[in-house]
Amino acid sequence: MSVSLVLLVVMAALYASGIYLLLERSMTRVLLGFLLVGNATNLLILITAGKVGSAPIVADGVAPEDMTDPLPEALILTAIVITFGVSAFLMALIYRSWKLARQDNVQDDADDIALRTGTLLLPSDGSDTDSSDTEFGLRGEAAVSTAGELEVELEDAADNATSGADTSTDDGSAR
């Protein structure tokens, strides 16, 4: 079986960088890693087709030996569709994770940590994790840690301004 060296090198590079990315904690990089590994696997399937030949269409004057093996291409098509669907789902998952927790990283399991440190936490009942689908669900306020203070300051400022305005109008009426 003769194999194109270029395809082989590209496949190896894709596998290497894909696996490197898969080992990261950031979900976005995991997604990119999955895409690279998926494409590397597709190339691997393509390589198994062996010698490159003419299109596998039965026509006059084309001997079967001169044709490319069509089966790997059919397999690749299926694999591409599956990869596509799964990456769409992964993206939805990442977005949901970002929306809920404002983080892109894969989190440690709380029970595992509890077991390691010897403090067995009581598992939450799940009822408190339900959140409305707002942009700032659950820990949203933590995204800008000074947001609360800012709000208070703004309110104070607004109060001052209105009271100032009041006093000024008062002054005006008094004049």
């Binding site: 079986m1 898969l22 979900m27 995991v30 999955f34 590994v37 998926g38 696997t41 691997l44 399937i45 390589i47 198994t48 062996g50 596998p56 039965v58 079967p64 044709m67 093996d69 069509p70 089966l71 790997p72 397999l75 299926t78 694999a79 599956i82 669907g85 799964v86 789902f89 992964l90 998952l93 949901r96 994770s97 809920l100 927790a101 894969v106 989190q107 399991d109 029970d111 595992d112 077991l115 067995l120 009581l122 598992p123 939450s124 009942d125 799940g126 009822s127 994790t129 339900d130 959140s131 659950l138």
Partner: protein, 530 residues
């Protein structure tokens, strides 16, 4: 009867599309889903009956001849698996319908739960009857993608976190499986399992071992054998109770099923049997030690699940018909019992408001039915004599003793020890959650208080947590089935034995796909069709 074979996959697939159309009518969705699964159960039973009497069936999809087209193969093992999984899927569905009706479908978003569940069923059935390695991959992908949706159902933070681990690990295993298919195709020029089996003997032994190891790693991740099992206890417990039950019962067993096919048909030689025996030993021991350390019932059950996968791998690793027979019986027993236990855990969560044994107490008085429904499968899993767990383990030990190597005897000892530790872990649950009075629980809060808090806006305050009849009924049905495994152990075991004999060496399987043993089917050795 060949025409019945594809219906096993088609019926749930079409029903899934139907339920998707009926998205706004949950009642209709439920009815369609239940009807579809009942039909598959009936077809599975008919297939099992005919296959057992008249020999295995091979269906060439679209009329394309065997090595070129896709072939669906139903032998005794596949038919048995279809029947058992249809039964489990149906019982869990009834359970979740009961839960959904009682909760007003908070746990299970109305429109997508039933279609996804049916797609999961499609994938499982497709994997069981696939006679083609790539079709097996597609079956795996179908069931995995729907399991991604089910495990992150509702999209709460905890489920997203747990689901992420599960999804990434499953993706890696799928890629590994796909890469091994590519390499097997590169080596033997076909993806038809029977033809691979015929041609694999001509391949140099070192290449064979590489392909064999790659396939085993890919399936090992799905089956959760020891070094590859750590994703399972992290991800399963957070999903809704019925989803966890069906995952625990079926998904890992599909991996074990693929390992059986690999070991008996694709690589029938004893190349890796010693390695598999050591893996079985480690899976059993490490899994059960994890279970002993847990305080949460669902996590504890997840660890016992990993541990008991070890028993099945033990049966496969013996490389004898007796070992395969015992493994098949054990798979059937374990699918039923593990699912029942998870359903029981769902009931406990409902009655006690928690699944942590540090928080539970006095459930024996509060819900005696649940106590019975948990106690029987717990003893069964632990291997107490009259139950099927004992019969399965005894058969495994007998097959090991027949093989007679020192390692086999070590495995018998480990198996007995693990069985006792399983019993210890489950009896601890029983003692803490059911047996001890509620007053002994530190900081005990009545689940009723919890319930009052949960009620939204004080509009509908439920006074008591009632147990829906459907949930109790489904769990009780599963307990009855698990007891039937004991009562009808004789016929079932001889059926497993006939299935195991079918798998002694690849020739029987090859004869199904290439009848009349025109076998090698090798007019063009390159495998380039056309």
């Amino acid at each position: 009867m060949n025409w019945l074979v594809p219906l096993v996959v088609l019926v749930p697939l079409v029903a899934s599309a139907t339920t998707l159309i009926l998205g706004k009518r949950p009642q209709a969705q439920r009815i369609v889903t239940i009807i579809a699964l009942v039909i598959v159960l009936a077809i599975g039973a008919i297939l099992l009956y005919t296959v057992d009497l008249q020999g295995s069936l091979a269906m060439e999809v679209g009329g394309w001849e065997a090595p070129f087209g896709i072939v669906l193969v139903v032998d005794r093992l596949a038919a048995l698996m279809v029947v058992v999984s249809a039964l489990v899927l149906l019982a869990v569905l009834v359970f979740s319908v009961g839960q959904g009706l009682a909760d007003g479908d908070h746990e299970t978003p109305v429109s997508i739960y039933y279609p996804t569940y049916l797609i999961l069923a499609t994938g499982v059935f497709n994997a069981f009857i696939a006679g083609d390695l790539f079709n097996l991959y597609v079956g795996f992908e179908i069931l995995l993608v729907s399991s991604y949706v089910l495990i992150t159902l509702g999209g709460t933070e905890e489920r997203i976190r747990a689901g992420t681990t599960y999804i990434v690990v499953s993706l890696v295993s799928s890629m590994l499986f796909l890469a091994s298919i590519a390499m097997i195709y590169g080596a033997v020029g076909t993806v038809n399992i029977a033809q691979i089996s015929l041609r694999m003997a001509e391949i140099p032994i070192d290449v064979q071992v590489i392909l064999h190891v790659m396939l085993l790693i890919a399936f090992g991740i799905k089956a959760a054998v020891f070094p590859l099992s750590f994703w399972l206890p992290d991800s399963y417990p957070t999903a809704p109770a019925p989803v966890t039950a069906v995952f625990a019962g079926l998904l890992t067993k599909v991996g074990v099923y693929a390992i059986i096919r690999t070991e008996t048909i694709i690589f029938p030689g004893p190349q890796l049997n010693i390695a598999l025996m050591i893996i079985a030993l480690l899976t059993m021991v490490v899994g059960v030690l994890g279970a002993v350390a847990q305080a949460d019932i669902k996590r504890l059950l997840s660890f016992t699940l990993v541990s008991h996968i070890g028993y099945m791998i033990l049966g496969v690793s013996l490389g004898s018909a007796a070992g395969t027979t015992a493994a098949i019986y054990y798979i059937v027993h374990h699918i039923i019992v593990q699912t029942t236990l998870f359903l029981g855990a769902g009931l406990i969560e409902r009655v006690g408001g928690s699944t942590s044994i540090t928080k539970l107490g006095g459930l024996l008085k509060a819900a005696p039915i649940v106590a019975v429904l948990f106690f029987l499968p717990a003893l069964n899993l632990g291997g107490i004599p009259p139950f099927s767990g004992f019969i399965g383990k005894l058969a495994l030990f007998e097959a090991s003793a027949q093989q007679g190597s020192p390692l086999a005897y070590v495995l018998i000892g480990a198996g007995a020890l693990v069985s006792l530790l399983t019993l210890y872990a489950l009896i601890r649950v029983w003692n803490m959650a059911f047996w001890r009075p509620a007053d002994d629980v530190e900081g005990y809060e009545s689940p009723l208080l919890d319930n009052v808090k949960e009620a939204p806006g004080g509009r509908t305050v439920q006074a008591t947590r009632r147990l829906p009849g459907l949930m109790i009924g489904a769990t009780a049905g599963m307990v009855v089935v698990s007891l039937a495994l004991t009562v009808f152990a004789g016929p079932l075991y001889s059926l497993s034995a006939r299935a195991g004999e079918n798998l002694e060496g690849p020739t029987t399987y090859v004869d199904i796909v290439f009848p009349g043993n025109s076998g090698p089917g090798d007019p063009d050795p390159g495998g380039t069709d056309d």
